[in-house]
């Protein structure tokens, strides 16, 4: 990788502004960077480097990793997580959470199975699967945004509720006889690349969420909302409305994940995708989204999802047991939360030491506001 720091030196900016006016304080070192350094040394970039490094290491050390088959299965595995991670990122940025996503996917799956078995047209089955997800999302959104109930409590409730409904709908049955051309499509690849055809749609959805978060007034509002609801209201952000639509989006995308799950495995069951919500939230947090809201980005989350997916897939190929997989994922998550604060602490100490050395030269100028 080319080194951008040759032109955008980072450290010297710190010393060159020693003529400091007292209006600045320095909790903001990483944010103090500007231009390319900011992007290439940011949290997102680090996630992407980590991802690339992981892929390279896996290619070298695990014999059968470097093949189109890997690409195909790896992507098929991460698609549900990647999909749901999109609305989840936006929701967590506003300081809320949605734990019911996997249950919505399960409910969608169950409904699809029952309707298909009852002889409905597959097109209508798919649409109704999506509709039930949207309705479930509206229910969440209604309770959280309109009534102002805490989202953690609400979605723990609906996590159980929607899964329960799935069980009521389909019972212990499994429906497996979906049209082969459809299930075939969901596992098909684009030519010889090994990339699943459905990735086209997934990439589109990711792009849509990325644009919404990073380039629209609505997205700007979400960050403001995550930091301070009160400040957001003062600039005219519709707090309740914004949250409501996020939950609707979450329900809709979870339903899409449920449809994908059902048709990829050609199996509609009530326990499809169970436990997926934790995988999604882990990936989102690993991707740099703050659980307290206000921070995070779509590129970071995509890298986070792919990183966890790659590690899992590589370890499985390397015949590492599932138990170890879970331990690795958990450790990674904790590391991702702890690493930035260790990084900060080290940097602060380095700073203090330098400051003590240089202190006698520090001459504050007496600039006063005019």
């Amino acid at each position: 990788m080319s080194d951008p720091r040759s032109t955008e030196t980072v450290e010297p900016t710190a010393t060159s502004t020693v003529s400091a006016d007292t209006t600045k304080t320095l909790r903001d070192e990483p944010r103090g960077r500007t231009g390319w350094a900011r992007i290439l040394l940011g949290r997102d970039a680090i996630m992407i480097y980590l991802l690339i490094a992981t892929i390279i290491i896996a290619m070298i050390s695990i014999p059968r990793f470097a093949s189109p088959v890997t690409v195909g299965f790896l992507l098929l595995d991460v698609i549900p997580v990647l999909l749901i991670a999109m609305p989840m990122t936006l929701i967590i940025i506003t300081g809320e959470i949605d734990l019911s996503v996997a249950s919505i996917a399960g409910l969608t799956s169950a409904l699809m199975g029952v309707l298909w078995q009852a002889g409905w047209d597959i097109g209508i089955v798919l649409v109704l699967g999506l509709v039930i997800g949207v309705l479930a999302g509206m229910f969440n959104g209604f309770l959280v945004a309109v009534f102002g109930l805490p989202s953690l409590a609400v979605t723990i409730g609906t996590l159980a509720l929607f899964r329960g409904l799935a069980l009521v709908v389909i019972g212990d049955n499994a429906v497996a006889n979906f049209p082969p051309e459809l299930t075939g499509f969901f596992t098909s690849k684009i030519g010889a690349t090994g990339i699943p055809t459905v990735m086209i749609g997934v990439v589109l959805i990711v792009a849509v969420f990325g644009v919404i978060l990073h380039f629209t007034p609505f997205g700007r509002g979400l960050y403001a909302l995550g930091f301070s609801t009160e400040a957001a209201r003062f600039v005219g952000i519709h707090v309740a409305r914004s949250k409501f639509w996020l939950y609707v989006a979450s329900g809709g995308v979870s339903a899409l994940a449920g449809i994908f799950w059902t048709l990829r495995y050609s199996s509609a069951r009530s326990d499809n995708a169970s436990g997926l919500e934790l995988a999604v939230i882990a990936a989102v947090l690993l991707g740099g989204v703050s659980i307290f809201g206000g921070k995070g980005s779509i590129p970071g989350v995509v890298a986070g999802v792919l990183l966890i997916g790659t590690i899992n897939y590589a370890l499985r190929l390397g015949r590492v047991s599932d138990v170890v997989l879970i331990i690795v994922t958990g450790t990674l998550l904790i590391a991702s939360v702890v690493a930035p604060s260790i990084f900060d602490a080290v940097k602060r100490r380095r700073h203090d030491r330098r400051v003590r050395r240089e202190l006698p030269q520090a001459q504050p100028s007496g600039s006063v506001s005019a």
Partner: protein, 511 residues
């Protein structure tokens, strides 16, 4: 200038705390270059300076929160180096912050004795002893607070008193009060001052930090001035005047504290009729015309902010109407108010005015996010350009537009709030305590700016608890008391007595 304190003649009482030539830097930023303070036993000592002068840093060093990079620090003549807040407390220093943080679910007595509860014979906490000791503390302070009351819901003034009681129970030799009066009403200020004088007479040294000169001159014995992180000088309060202190604080004369420009007053921009909200305010009628500055005066809690919030649509109201330029405004819809041309600089810039963790640029353009978008997408280059333009116009001092707004000083933060509303080119600007907690220099800048805006035909509704500001800036003064407008005074009739009279009681002054 000499860094040594210019102490007066005579035999001064012993110096209880001395910090000399203290320095503290944060990376490239020098927060304190030469912090010096000498506090005697039995005096109330004011520490003044603009925001960013280094007062807070100095206080944090005294409190043991920061470790100075250089300088000498003695308590009772003994050199000290605090590693933690506990060290500072053990040395007899208590710091009372502007907004104390009591544990809301514990009782007053429990809060006072938290972590060092008196024990009974059984070795368990003796609630009875705790209660009687707390009660005797309050008796000493002459303030009736029930020790068994839960701390939640106590006024800020009472919370400060509890912190002071805690300080006394710790045998504090030094009590530092960091802008204690900023959120207090007149009566509460008087009570706090009585308590402070009592402490002084008991031999404690009190460091009093404030932006309000009337309080400084009423209360303190000596004044130390800081500027740009440096010690400037110490004076006997009786021997100096406000202009001298202000000149030292800003390093120049502030020609006119309230640069009121005569503006041409035009048609009504905002018309409020019969606005009522049960239990909050009732029958509010007023209008603000273009080019006019209308001040809403009154005591804290009179309902001024609530009226402004209802006008802007943050809160709802039960009856009445709000019209902007003759068009009714939708209730409970701040976006509609913004679109119609209202800007609102709220009283709490940290919680309401700004998103503290977002960059200066993002904050400055947050109000414009819809108009910055083309085909639904925000134009990043234009966003930065607009932010740069407005922060430059208002002379916001920041290293980069990308710095988080939390890193700016209070005065500069307030400028960012003003920038984000001025960028919307409002027809009516509501400013709620526009200069609270900001330094003298920036204050004058804000006043000049408001005057200038009025001169350009913008209608301004200003809420302020500072009487000089109200009288100096306003064309018309509306005084509120317990949710009602009790007086409407023209600039010529608005005397301090008339305003205070209407603010404190009777409605007989109604115009």
């Amino acid at each position: 200038m000499s860094p040594e304190p210019t102490t007066d003649v005579g035999t001064p009482p012993p110096t209880v705390l001395a910090l000399r030539h203290a320095a503290k830097t944060f990376g490239p930023v020098v927060a304190l270059a030469d912090g010096t303070i000498e506090l005697r036993a039995g005096e109330i000592h004011a520490l003044v300076g603009e925001n960013g002068a280094g007062k807070s840093t100095l206080v944090k060093i005294l409190a043991g929160l920061y470790h100075p990079d250089a300088g000498e620090f003695t308590v009772d003549g003994q050199p000290v180096a605090f590693r933690t807040v506990a060290d500072s407390k053990a040395a007899g220093i208590s710091v009372i912050y502007q907004e104390p943080t009591l544990f809301p679910d514990l009782t007053v007595a429990e809060n006072i004795f938290i972590g060092r509860q008196p024990k009974g014979r059984s070795g368990l906490i003796s609630r009875a002893r705790m209660r009687t000791e707390a009660r005797s503390l309050f008796e000493r302070l002459g303030v009736p607070i029930d020790p068994d009351r839960i701390a939640e819901g106590l006024s800020i003034a009472d919370q400060q008193i509890i912190e002071i009681a805690k300080a006394i129970s710790l045998d504090a030799k030094v009590v530092v009060m960091d802008e204690p009066t900023a959120a207090l009403s007149g009566v509460e200020v008087d009570r706090l001052f009585a308590v402070a004088r009592g402490l002084r007479d008991g031999g404690a040294g009190i460091l009093f930090i404030s932006h309000r000169f009337d309080e400084i001159f009423a209360l303190t014995d000596r004044i130390t001035v800081m500027r740009d992180g440096r010690y400037i000088g110490t004076h006997d309060t009786a021997a100096v005047t406000t202009p001298v202190i202000v000149r030292e604080m800003v390093g120049r004369d502030i020609a006119q504290l309230f640069p009121k420009v005569e503006a041409e007053i035009g048609d009504a921009v905002l018309t409020v009729e019969g606005l009522s909200s049960a239990g909050v305010f009732s029958d509010i009628d007023f209008e603000v015309r273009s080019g006019e500055i209308v001040a809403l005066a009154g005591l804290v809690g009179a309902g001024r902010t609530e009226v402004a919030r209802a006008v802007f649509g943050i809160d709802g109201y039960d009856r009445g109407s709000v019209e902007l330029l003759g068009r009714p405004l939708r209730p409970r819809d701040p976006q509609a108010a913004i679109d119609a041309g209202i800007g609102f600089v709220p009283e709490d810039r940290r919680k309401q005015g700004l998103v503290m963790d977002l960059s200066v640029a993002r904050n400055a353009t947050l109000t414009l996010r819809n108009s910055l978008a083309r085909f639904g997408l925000i134009n990043g280059a234009r966003e930065r350009a607009v932010a740069a333009e407005w922060t430059k116009r208002l002379q916001v001092k920041t290293g980069s537009q990308e710095y988080t707004v939390a890193t700016l000083s209070g005065g500069n933060q307030q400028k960012v709030v003003l920038a984000k509303w001025l960028a919307t080119e409002p027809k009516l600007l509501i400013v709620d305590e526009p200069t609270r907690g900001i330094d003298v220099g920036t204050k004058a800048e804000v006043h000049r700016l408001l005057s200038d805006l009025a001169g350009r035909g913008i209608a301004i509704l200003m809420i302020s608890s500072e009487l000089p500001e109200v009288l100096g800036m306003a064309d018309r003064v509306l005084v509120m008391h317990e949710g009602r407008i009790t007086a409407q005074l023209d600039r010529a009739d608005a005397t301090p007595e008339a305003v205070m009279h209407a603010a404190t009681a009777s409605r007989e002054h109604s115009a």
